[in-house]
């Protein structure tokens, strides 16, 4: 059974600090997505990573993909309160279904 595991599930950090969210998946996937979800809201697409070694950056967020290790990271640089949200990674195995991790809830404190 395909598993997508995020670590940590909850992260409380101070503004200005750096941290990394990890996403491990248990079967091959040729792409990986990162989404953001604010409380009670829908999912906002952050990054689409399509190949091994792909790295994408947007503002204070940077995502990378290692398909050999089946690992993606979402790195947060100098966190600000506006980044507080739940972050999901998702993969697409050969079944062609989008499989999500459990989510990482990020709380950035002033």
């Amino acid at each position: 059974e395909l598993k997508v595991e995020q670590n940590p599930l909850f992260l409380s950090m101070q503004e200005g600090k750096n941290y990394t969210i990890y996403c491990n998946y248990s079967t091959t996937s040729d792409r990986l997505y990162w989404y953001r979800q604010d409380p009670g809201k829908s999912l906002e697409s952050l990054f689409v990573l399509l190949s091994n070694g792909a790295v994408k950056q947007e503002g204070r967020l940077m995502a990378s993909l290692d398909t050999k290790a089946r690992l993606s990271t979402l790195h947060i640089t100098a966190a600000v309160h506006d980044l507080s949200a739940t972050y999901f990674c998702a993969v697409v195995p050969s079944t062609g279904k989008l499989i999500f991790g459990q989510g990482t809830t990020l709380q950035v404190k002033p």
Binding site: L43, V48, L50, V92, K97, I99
Partner: protein, 118 residues
């Protein structure tokens, strides 16, 4: 351009009832997918439709069904509602099917329908 739209935004039903949720994709998108998100969990894939044909199904009982119309809008139907069906139901649209690798097939999510079953 308008994004993905869903209706209704909120819905309260009782056990055993039937519900129909609706989704309109982004203009030019031919694929619609449905997801169930229970509070505190990640979304779970229910269905994907492309050009009115089912192209993927998740591990959900036969009480769940869907269809896609010629204008690419879609309906999700759930029969014999259970308390455990209470969730946020998300619709996502994309140009193509998930099985094809391409950023072209990135999914864009609608605001969701929050279903409460009492």
């Amino acid at each position: 351009d308008a994004g993905v739209t869903q209706s209704p935004t909120h819905l309260i039903k009782t056990r055993g009832q039937h519900v129909t949720l609706r989704c309109s994709p982004i203009s030019g998108h031919k694929s619609v997918s449905w997801y169930q998100q229970v509070l505190g969990q990640g979304p779970q894939f229910i269905f994907q439709y492309y050009e009115k044909e089912e192209r993927g199904r998740g591990n959900f009982p036969d009480r769940f069904s869907a269809r896609q119309f010629p204008n690419y809008s879609s309906e999700l139907n759930v029969n014999a509602l259970l308390l455990g069906d209470s969730a946020l139901y998300l619709c996502a649209s994309s140009r193509g099917v998930l099985a094809v690798v391409s950023s072209y097939n990135e999914q864009f999510f609608g605001p969701g329908t929050r279903l409460t079953v009492l």
